[in-house]
């Protein structure tokens, strides 16, 4: 007994020691990347994890880091599981990560309240809580370049254009097939608002997480209801299954539009030739011809320092992972400029993210001009409602099917502000922003 408790004591002490902050070299910063290369959502998670880590490796190899400060990083496997997410977050916190990228709506919701207490910025690129775009309420959470509500409004806008004007949406039926979790549920309030405004009807087709690969009922219902358009909010194994079922049920693929997370190359490829014409809204272009991606190929993949198969380079989700890493690296750079330090900490990182601006010239320098649109985060607006466009699957790859266009920011902002106010009241006492935004 005695031995036992002593053992437990030493064990705990040892454990505590193993999570103490790692001794970093004086000129490096640490970022933890929570990723998922296992589990039912690995199909989407792997490409993103590869994109993020490859870009960071490339920056370290080519430039020796950001202004000479190396970025040390490691991955923490979450398996898209919220329990593991907490573990990764606590581990990241103990190791003084600069920024936390949850890569799961569930984990994002969990860490948002903690972020302001622990003073760790949360970067949830185009996912997570849409309301977090309100920088006055959520000073520590960032969801650039667009929120889910931007995505939905963009899709509706695009459908309106296809129909020859928003007024023609009147009387149309739009089907919404979604992963029945926080992620898929979030756009529904806006969808219903827009439906009553433009007079279209919404049909919902929820897909339970454990039934992702068994969607025949949903698509049979689609066949019965004959919606004019289908919108998909899917992730992981749900996407290829949905596209296959759509092909099988002879749904017109050109009227089937996914959110950006339903735009994986493997997702569309699963549908075979029939998937041609499938569309997804996007905030980034595909292809590996951008100078930065060529550098990744040269310095990381060809140097055999990566898990990425070469065919994956330039795919849609891979490039999204790269975009996420670009935002981090550029935020570090901005933070260095803003604070005058080279080795920054998490609080400086927040300043960097809040002043992040990528204009055409900067994107050209990075070597990603055209892959992502110019964007700007401000103190008040942590998302930016930046331009997006629609991609179309041509049977082999995604090609742009529209120009960059603005989402319906004027529709999104009011509902967003309301949601963020509601969040603050239901989480009372919600901490006030420490330093007010400059007017």
């Amino acid at each position: 007994m005695n031995m036992n408790s002593m053992l437990a004591g030493t064990l705990l002490a040892g454990l505590a020691a193993s999570f103490a902050a790692p001794a970093l070299a004086a000129d490096s910063v640490y970022i933890q990347l929570p990723t998922y290369r296992t589990g039912p959502y690995a199909g989407s998670g792997i490409a993103i994890a590869n994109g993020m880590s490859d870009y960071l490796k490339m920056i370290n190899a080519r430039d020796g880091g950001v202004n000479g400060v190396k970025i040390e990083f490691d991955e923490c496997e979450t398996g898209y599981d919220t329990q593991k997410g907490v573990e990764c977050y606590e581990q990241a916190k103990a190791k003084n990560t600069l920024v936390f990228n949850p890569w799961s709506t569930g984990i994002t919701l969990q860490v948002i309240p903690k972020s302001s207490v622990d003073k760790i910025p949360v970067l949830s690129m185009a996912y997570g809580l849409s309301a977090a775009a309100d920088g006055t309420t959520f000073p520590w959470v960032f969801n650039p370049p667009d929120t889910y509500w931007d995505a939905l409004s963009g899709i509706i806008k695009y459908i309106g254009e296809q129909e020859g004007g928003m007024e023609n949406l009147d009387g149309k039926t739009i089907g919404y097939i979604f992963l029945d979790a926080g992620y898929g549920r979030e756009p529904i309030p806006l969808l219903e608002d827009l439906a009553s405004e433009y007079g279209f009807e919404v049909k919902q087709y929820p897909v339970a997480g454990k039934e992702m690969q068994n969607q025949s009922s949903q698509w049979l219902s689609v066949r019965r209801d004959r919606p004019d358009y289908m919108i998909m909010w899917g992730w992981g194994a749900m996407n290829p299954t949905a596209i296959k079922e759509a092909v099988k049920n002879r749904f017109d693929m050109s009227k089937f539009i996914g959110v950006w997370w339903a735009g994986g190359d493997d997702d569309a490829r699963a549908g075979g030739a029939g998937a041609k014409g499938y569309k997804a809204i996007s905030f980034n272009n595909v292809g590996a011809d951008y100078p930065a991606l060529q550098d990744i190929k040269k310095l990381v993949i060809d140097a055999d320092n990566s898990e990425t198969p070469e065919s994956q380079l330039g795919e849609n989700l891979y490039n999204k992972g790269v975009a996420n890493a670009v935002y981090m690296v550029e935020a570090i750079r901005t933070a260095q400029e803003e604070t005058g330090k080279t080795v920054i900490n998490a609080e400086d990182m927040r300043v960097g993210l809040e002043n992040l601006e990528l204009d055409e010239a900067r994107l050209e320098e990075i070597g990603l001009k055209g892959m992502i649109s110019p964007m700007k985060i401000t103190c008040k607006n942590h998302s930016g409602h930046n331009p997006i466009f629609v991609q179309e699957w041509d049977g082999e790859k995604y090609t742009p099917a529209s120009d960059w266009f603005e989402p319906m920011t004027e529709k999104v902002t009011p509902i967003l502000m309301e949601a963020s106010k509601e969040y603050a009241t239901s989480n009372a006492p919600w901490p006030e922003r420490e330093e007010p935004c400059p007017e």
Partner: protein
């Protein structure tokens, strides 16, 4: 009254108005039912011979499918990969028998059930370690399975679309059930199997090798798993998410009885067709998505009236 109308009358009106669609729903339910039945078949085989409720059947489906596709990706021709995948299942069966079943012989059911759940953990880890976690596309065409579909025009202008792969799945399932029935009833090993199922010790005393029989049974379940993996993989993808779908075999077993092969098939079809019709005609009333629990509820209600299942042996002790 409106509520009663929407629950008890309106769905039937819908069915009558669009018979082509009803036919399609029943067909989809039939195909899903066949797949449930295939998974349940794997459970039944093992339960019959060794009294083990094999929780790992779901992951065996994934593992078998992954081995096939993974080997093909490594450059093995499709048919050879198929044979090798069968080989993998054979090795797996022998290992399970040797390292799990044999040391645990005579333990209570729940311990054996736990051991199969332990196997599930092990196989998930191993499968992801070897083949990676990303979903893989089934090599349907390379295996010579039909793709494409046939559409039948109905009198009222509706369409009934039959996927060739679904028809193939039904045919293969039928062949497997027939083959297993012949195997159990006509061959020497089959008779030995039934003897083991009846009474382990008695079978041992007449010179039947328990170890050999168990290895064979697990191998047979492995082949059923491979067939399931191919069929389900062709419908969606081979990914670890499939493992959870396998839980659907439980209500199927309740309906069909744990020890009956025809019961597994008929139970599968009842669950498959029942949940599709329920979801499509009644699901909308409560917001849809009831498919995730409807099958269990059907099984639950069924249990209250007939605890031994449709074809099951009356093993349940009543209180």
């Amino acid at each position: 009254m409106d509520v009663l109308y929407t629950i008890f009358i309106d769905p039937f009106v819908q069915m009558a108005e669009a018979p082509d669609f009803l036919l399609q729903v029943v067909w989809e339910g039939f195909v899903a039912g066949i797949l449930y039945a295939l998974i349940a078949l794997g459970f039944v085989l093992i339960y019959k011979a060794s009294g083990v409720f094999n929780f790992a059947q779901g992951i065996m489906v994934v593992f078998a499918g992954l081995s096939l596709v993974g080997l093909h990706e490594m450059g093995v021709p499709a048919l050879l990969a198929l044979i090798m995948a069968i080989g993998v299942m054979a090795i797996l069966a022998i290992c399970i028998e040797k390292f799990v079943m044999r040391p645990l012989v005579g333990q209570p059911d729940i311990i054996l059930l736990m051991a199969t759940i332990g196997m599930t953990y092990f196989l998930i880890g191993l499968g992801e370690f070897i083949f990676g976690g990303e979903p893989k596309q089934m090599i349907t065409e390379e295996l010579g399975l039909p793709t494409g579909s046939t559409a039948f025009e109905m009198d009222n202008g509706g369409l009934v679309i039959l996927q060739h792969i679904d028809i193939a799945a039904a045919v293969i399932a039928l062949i497997m059930v027939g083959g297993l029935a012949v195997f159990f009833n006509r061959t020497r090993i089959g008779r030995a199997l039934r003897a083991v199922a009846d009474d382990h010790t008695a079978a041992l005393s007449v010179g039947i090798s328990l170890n050999q029989i168990w290895a064979i049974v697990w191998f047979a379940a492995g082949i059923v798993a491979l067939a399931t993996g191919i069929m389900w993989g062709a419908r969606s993808d081979v990914s670890f998410a499939l493992e959870i779908v396998a839980l659907k075999a439980l209500p199927v077993l309740i309906l069909g009885g744990f020890t009956s092969i025809p019961g597994a098939v008929i139970g599968g079809l009842i669950i498959g067709i029942g949940e599709k019709i329920g979801e499509i005609y009644w699901g909308g009333l409560v917001g849809g998505g009831i498919e995730s629990w409807l099958a269990y509820m059907i099984a639950l209600i069924f249990l209250l009236f007939r605890p031994q299942g449709l074809f099951g042996e009356k093993i349940i002790e009543r209180i």
